[in-house]
């Protein structure tokens, strides 16, 4: 039995990723060595460039892939690192000719390439801290335009500085160059860095913080509702990725032997982005495949453009072909690759496919696992999650919310005792979901407050509220689609292990309890509707919540499925010792599941009591059920 609270699987998260990374690096290195042995000096240059691009693209993948936040600016970081490296590593004698007036006595400084890379990385990391703060402040999330703009600003500013700060950069014409022959020799260093970088990228993706970042990538709101602070994962990914980019930039400058302002600008941004997306930005294997494919395609189009069409002996010699194939073909190739993949296969060739994960799955399949005992067998009377539940009631008082001129909540309040199942019912537009949104920090109330036990949570951010034990599900299903069923539940359990006290329900048992054991390896986005609903419930239960807030858990289900869901919810809640606040507009379901019911209409609680009391209340019949006969029909 694994130590509870530890979710790292040594094979899945360490051994296999390292093996897979080594395999990937070996393919690149051996393939490159074979090609350059056959092709002479030109091929040699091409392979070196490809390996350095591979390091750079993996750097991009660590950020863009794990967080989904789109950054145009990573090549701007590369520019910072490249210049810092060149300024520090070029020997003073040479600097005194190209940048005679360098500030801070920099033209006296002479570091070894390794020292220069280290210092350049630190300088670039400092820039990353500033940009990262800006991104966090702007609420960057997957696909957000503000992140694209902020990072694009970095790219432009570094470019303009490189052009204009000639005392430091040598400007546009000369740039900064090493003395001839004074550059990178052999590829041993590149090999070592490449292996290390791929290993780091894979370990990060499998790490706790990497998983949290991916959850926020898949669904920012749901991640926060599971107690994940998206900023933490984004900042970690940014710093790591910028570190890799800085090393790659230093290598690129040292290999080529000079740097000019256009060296790390639009063209290189295009190149690296195309490499990243063609193979699949969400996977390291994909990113590396993209590097190989685009390098090959670029070389091929370059040859077509200069020598005419010749492909494995077959050649086409016609004036039209010669007219079509000319300089600029590589640019068209890159643009068309980007366009084509975005239109036809936006997640790249491999999507989320990762070599080591695939190997691990195959390896594991050979020894079947035993189906775990469902929760009910393990904990028939509950797990006793919280040590002391005395007086830890959920209290909501006088909430008011205005959307423009529309008052969605108008002084609504309710209480839920620990271990109680409370229903909240009302017609469409009564404010039910708004109430849940307020007490999970999604919508800020204009008045009122709420607390759990002694802890007031009114102005707390979503993830703190979730960590305090108010955990919700969503009316319109928000799972982490690219993550497997198991990973969805495990993610919540990881957060719980760190932020929720007491015992925690075992992940496997929760999955079995939700009837998802046989599909635990499947991605959440591939689940059928009913399974997806049950997975959302299991994921919420894995947080070991004090209260489960269920927003229309049976919406879209048949009557039979709804009836089954009643038992499942009560069971799951009892097993993890959680109180329940469940929202629905289906009276049968709510009366069937609830100990007590609140009726909401036009933002106000118009009735409260046991199911029988509420059903008998004439105000309820009038407001919610409408015509008398209709009420008889449904109730």
């Amino acid at each position: 039995m694994k130590h509870p609270g530890s979710f790292a699987d040594a094979r899945r998260d360490v051994a296999f990723p390292m093996t897979g990374a080594a395999l990937l690096a070996a393919v690149l290195i051996v393939g490159g060595a074979v090609y350059s042995a056959a092709g002479g000096a030109t091929a040699d240059k091409l392979v070196t460039a490809m390996l350095i691009d591979a390091i750079m693209v993996v750097g991009l993948q660590i950020y863009i892939g794990n967080t989904g936040v789109f950054s145009f600016g990573h090549i701007g970081f590369a520019a910072v690192a490249g210049y810092a490296f060149a300024v520090l590593a070029i020997e003073p004698a040479r600097k005194s000719t190209v940048i005679r007036n360098a500030p801070w006595g920099l033209n006296e400084v002479h570091l070894t390439p390794v020292q220069a890379t280290a210092v350049a990385s630190l300088v670039t990391l400092a820039a990353a801290v500033v940009v990262g703060w800006g991104l966090a402040r702007s609420g960057a999330k997957s696909g957000s335009v503000s992140a694209a703009v902020i990072t694009l600003a970095l790219l432009f500013v570094t470019h303009e500085l490189a052009l204009n700060w000639t005392d430091l950069t040598g400007g546009d014409r000369a740039g900064l160059s090493f003395r001839i022959g004074n550059t990178l020799e052999g590829r041993t260093v590149i090999y070592a860095v490449l292996v290390a970088v791929i290993v780091v990228a894979r370990l990060f993706a499998q790490s706790r913080i990497g998983r949290l970042a991916q959850a926020a990538r898949e669904d920012n709101l749901a991640a926060r509702a599971m107690g994940v602070n998206p900023v933490a994962g984004q900042v970690a990914a940014l710093l790591l990725s910028v570190l890799v980019v800085a090393v790659a930039a230093s290598l690129r400058v040292y290999d080529i032997g000079n740097i000019t302002p256009k060296f790390f600008f639009f063209d290189y941004t295009l190149l690296t982005l195309v490499m990243l997306i063609v193979g699949g930005r969400n996977s390291v294997t994909g990113a590396l495949s993209g590097v190989v494919i685009i390098t090959a395609g670029r070389e091929l189009t370059r040859r077509f453009a200069s020598d005419g069409f010749e492909f494995f002996g077959a050649s086409l010699d016609a004036p039209v072909v010669d007219w079509l194939l000319r300089e600029g073909l590589t640019q068209i190739f890159l643009g068309a690759a980007m366009l084509g993949f975005m239109i036809l296969r936006t997640n790249g060739l491999l999507g989320d496919w990762e070599l080591d994960t695939w190997l691990w799955r195959r390896w594991r399949r050979r020894k079947p696992e035993e189906r775990p005992e469902p929760l009910a067998e393990i904990a028939p009377v509950g797990l006793h999650v919280e040590v002391d539940r005395e007086g830890a009631a959920l209290e909501v008082h006088d909430l008011a919310v205005d959307f423009g001129g529309f008052r969605a909540l108008d002084g609504a309040g309710l209480t839920v005792a620990p271990d109680e199942v409370v229903g909240l019912i009302g017609p469409n537009g009564a404010g039910k979901t708004t109430l849940v949104n307020v007490i999970t920090g999604v919508v800020a109330p204009s008045a009122g407050w709420f607390k759990v036990g002694e802890r007031e949570l009114t102005s707390a951010p979503s993830h703190d509220i979730a960590r305090a034990g108010l955990v919700r599900t969503f009316q319109n299903l928000r799972l982490f689609g690219a993550l497997t069923v198991h990973q969805n539940v495990e993610l919540a359990a990881r957060v719980a292990a760190q932020h929720r006290p007491g015992n925690h329900p075992p992940v496997d048992a929760l999955i079995a309890e939700a009837g998802l054991w046989d599909v635990r390896g499947r991605r959440a986005r591939e689940l059928d509707y009913g399974s997806a609903r049950r997975l959302e419930l299991a994921r919420a239960a894995a947080m070991a919540p004090a209260y489960l807030l269920l927003d229309e858990p049976t919406s879209g289900m048949s009557d039979a499925e709804s009836a089954e869901m009643i038992g499942r919810i009560r069971h799951m809640a009892a097993a993890v010792d959680a109180g329940v606040l469940v929202i629905d507009h289906d009276l049968n379901f709510i009366t069937g599941i609830s100990d007590r019911i609140y009726v909401l209409d036009q933002g106000q609680v118009i009735s409260a009591g046991t199911p029988d009391e509420v059903q008998a209340d004439p105000a309820v019949r009038a407001a919610y059920l409408g015509a008398e006969s209709d009420a008889e029909g449904r109730a």
Binding site: G68, F70, G134, R137, S138, G139, S142, G143, S144, V145, S146, A148, V149, I150, L152, A153, L154, F156, V157, H159, E160, L161, L163, N164, L221, L270, L273, I277, R326, E327, G328, L329, Q331, I332, L334, G335, A336, A337, M338, L339, G340, M342, I343, T346, T433, N437, V442, F474, Q475, N476
Partner: protein
């Protein structure tokens, strides 16, 4: 004071062109949530049209209407070839699609037309000025501001008074709801691209009159200005885009004349940083378009 007045006049002239570009970008963002980095290609294409028409011995009276026509045609063609296939896709996908269009168009001109600069004559009156008290006003700026004002008035009339305008505004507000109300998404999106083409065409006339030349990458600068202006205005907001354009023009002129000599070359960078700061502190832009996520 005189200098400030001079700056404001210059800034308005510059800002008007930005406003036209930004409005075109905002219209498209409104209906399909696409930040169109390929908007500048309309200027590039227009530039070559201007060059060819001019080489054929015709003057600006011919160039101007042709530029608008070709710009609209190009906008519709780009929609047909690229953007219609990524409708409703993730923002990431659409953003990179527009980038792909940008690079392909640029490379096509580079390969099959020429990498070098193509010149054409600028209208003779463009350098004329007149003085109002101590302030020198360019005739060109007056024409730009006047035509922009007319264009905006016409655009406003179309948006506010026609059925197409109503569908477009409805679609910008809530695309799904608009479709449920019977708005034909295909027609609205194509209409939005046509409108953005008209606006870019008019902007292109002025841009090219002043530049008197074009290159395969001529569209990058106007595209960036338009995008920045639209960002300042909050992207989805049409009024914001116009305001953003004018503000950007003013800010550039003020910065260029006020920044010390050594840093004046950094004007674009400073503007970019200011906009990044705007986004850091007000992620919705200057004029916030509320786009609440449905939970």
């Amino acid at each position: 004071m005189t200098e400030l007045a001079q700056n404001v006049i210059d800034g308005l002239g510059r800002g008007s062109i930005y406003a036209l570009l930004a409005l075109g970008i905002a219209v498209i963002f409104g209906v399909m949530h696409l930040l169109n980095f390929a908007h500048g290609e309309l200027i590039t294409v227009s530039g070559y049209v201007a060059y060819w028409v001019f080489s054929a011995g015709l003057n600006w009276y011919w160039i101007a209407p042709l530029v608008v026509l070709v710009s609209v045609g190009t906008a519709l063609a780009i929609e047909q070839v690229a953007f219609r296939w990524v409708r409703g896709a993730a923002d990431f996908t659409m953003l990179l699609t527009s980038f792909g269009v940008h690079f392909v168009v640029q490379a096509v001109f580079f390969m099959y037309v020429s990498a070098s600069v193509r010149n054409f004559d600028r209208p003779r009156w463009i350098t004329n000025t007149f003085d109002v008290g101590p302030v020198t006003i360019e005739v060109f700026d007056v024409v730009v501001v006047a035509v922009t004002a007319l264009t905006l008035a016409a655009t406003a009339a179309v948006l506010l008074r026609t059925m197409f305008g109503l569908s477009l505004r409805a679609a910008a507000e809530d695309f799904d709801a608009a479709r449920l109300m019977g708005v034909k998404s295909d027609r609205v999106i194509r209409g939005a691209f046509a409108l953005s083409g008209v606006l870019a065409g008019i902007a292109a006339i002025f841009w090219l009159m002043r530049a008197g030349q074009t290159t395969p990458s001529a569209g990058i600068t106007p595209m960036l200005k338009g995008v920045l202006a639209a960002l300042i205005g909050g992207l989805g907001s049409l009024r914001g885009a116009v305001l953003g354009g004018l503000l950007l023009g003013l800010a550039e002129v003020l910065l260029r004349s006020r920044l010390p000599d050594g840093i004046a070359g950094l004007t674009d960078g400073v503007v970019f940083v200011l906009i990044a700061l705007l986004f850091i502190f007000r992620p919705g832009g200057l004029i916030t378009v509320s786009r609440a996520e449905r939970v």
